[in-house]
Symmetry: C2
Subunit: 341 residues, 2 copies
């Protein structure tokens, strides 16, 4: 299901053929076969997404680190899980994650469904002992039964597969359309200012879209489960390696244990990038202008001028889309339990 | 402004005269003189209420411990603040807190405005060094300026007073009307089942409404800043003192240092009590039926039968009101900062 080396070797042909044809965000969101979406499933998923009782001590929900009132992340280098334990990689944004063909920085989950299983039992995230505990916790909250019945049919199973199906259905609604860039690419030439267009052109000529291609600025559209990976740094040896600790985390290698996957990372989206500081897998860069400089140097071996960086940053800010107005879920009540450890 | 002994001595006359006249939740919410409420102020307040960047490391918002998607609290004995530090008292519900004449378990804040200043700089809660840091954090988030301008007028001050005024304005919208009890007391005699009415009658005859009187089941209506306090346990010496560690925390004494305030507590609301386990200032009791038994014994020196407890619990569940449908705030973006400690 997953590829890695393939796309780093294919890279430059992809670049030549498609990198200049950036697209607006599609209206249709990809989903695995059979992943039907209903309002009831979305409501259940949203409720679960916001429910901190899905964590060991009742303090961490999906939204704690992937905050949909903000940039879909937590503005931290590393997230704080149960007991304030720190994760090892920066929380990626949940916005438009439905357009990513694999999930996690190392692409180890083929779908949003598979992704959602991870943090629940990660000891530095939601820290549940196992999925059975997640399910018994949910079953002990009486109001969830009706929500599952409405989402999956009367007396449907409350099991981990239905839990993550619902969460993924909700996440597929977390799309940010109508960024100024989208209006521009659809024909409203006044949607971008001159400097922003200059930044767009600069990103083309500099080579940024070699990797950050496609509607989500995260690579070509690939089947769900097939990742688009790049080596970071592609040009090791710059001062940034040490300054931002870029060589420590082996990336996709930790999943595959293949030498060729060392320092390979799923190419992240550039959409809403202005909302999601700090940057990179280790959240080591606080400012967007510095992130642009680091990318140009480490990935393309180019030194950008201050003005070039400014223009590119101006363009990147046009990728901030509209966050939809959402109603808050009303969490079913906990009947007389305490969650303090 | 604040009284304490007064109401514990006045108690039994209050009981005789008013305890049987329970009221529905009023539509009008009390507020300090000059606390004008506008939609813009509420929106700013809601945004601040949900913004975790108001905490030192960006992990804790007001909503973390006073979760308005849930019972207005966090279903924990003690809340977890920045660095997973534990507070010393159980988070009270924010629902209907606007009807409380003083805030905090020990009544040390006269208003919601004054209350909101506390957790921001409490080292085991949001852990900001001081209010100046709160304000500079907010000023560094460019989008807040427009929200303050709309709430308080063009180029209005971004200062701690306006911050807490906005938060309090939002909190005054957190009201849960139309509990089944309210429908009943307004004349819909079918709104309560027989056992629930029995529980209501039992609470009258047992003496529960001596303290839990008034529309909010938290004592008589008093001017803002004037607290209604009771000693807990009023009848010390039961096995519960040890079992639930009831004698350790000195309550209001810690504020006033007066001997007569030892173990005095602001009488909490019974509204939505079924949503807010665990119970008491130390969250030591996980189940509502046990909380009822403990109250009867420690406050009224009565031993309730199992059936009596059942009926009272059935009645208490009719005090769960309607949580209003709320839209999520969209947090203004953090421009290139990282909050990891």
């Amino acid at each position: 299901m997953k590829t890695s080396l393939l796309f780093s070797t294919l890279l430059f042909s992809v670049y030549v053929s498609s990198s200049f044809a950036q697209e607006a965000l599609p209206e249709k969101v990809p989903a695995p076969a059979g992943a039907t979406v209903t309002e009831e499933k979305i409501l259940l998923g949203k409720t679960l997404y916001f429910d901190p009782r899905l964590s060991k001590d009742g303090t961490i929900s999906c939204n704690s680190c992937h905050n949909v009132m903000a940039g879909g992340d937590d503005n931290r280098s590393f997230s704080a899980g149960v007991g304030a334990k720190l994760g090892g990689r920066s929380a990626p944004t949940v916005w438009n994650s439905a357009f990513m063909s694999v999930q996690f920085w190392d692409g180890r989950a083929a779908s949003l469904e598979e992704q959602a299983k991870g943090p629940l039992t990660n000891p530095v995230e939601m820290a549940m002992t196992d999925h059975n505990l997640v399910i018994s916790r949910i079953k002990n909250i009486p109001g969830y039964k009706a929500l599952f019945d409405k989402a999956f049919g009367k007396n449907s199973k409350i099991d981990i597969d239905n839990v993550v199906k619902a969460i993924a259905a909700y996440e597929r609604t977390l799309i940010t359309p109508n960024a100024r860039f989208d209006l521009y690419i659809k024909g409203d030439k006044k949607a971008l200012r001159e400097e922003e267009i200059k930044g767009f052109e600069l990103m083309k000529t500099t080579g940024c879209f070699a990797c950050h291609s496609g509607a989500n600025f995260a690579g070509p559209t690939l089947p769900i489960g097939t990742g688009f990976y790049m080596k970071f740094p592609t040009f090791p040896g710059s001062a940034y390696d040490t300054k931002y600790d870029l060589m420590k985390d082996m990336g996709r290698f930790d999943v595959t244990k293949k030498d060729e996957d060392k320092h390979l990372w799923r190419v992240p989206t550039l959409r809403n990038i202005a909302l999601t500081a700090p940057y990179f897998h280790n959240g080591s860069v606080a400012h967007l202008d510095e992130a642009v400089r680091v990318m140009a140097k480490t990935q393309l071996n180019k030194d950008l001028s201050k003005k070039e960086v400014q223009s590119i940053v101006a363009f990147l800010k046009t990728l901030t889309g509209e966050r939809p107005v959402q109603t808050m879920p009303i969490l079913p009540s906990t009947d007389a339990t305490t969650l303090t450890p």
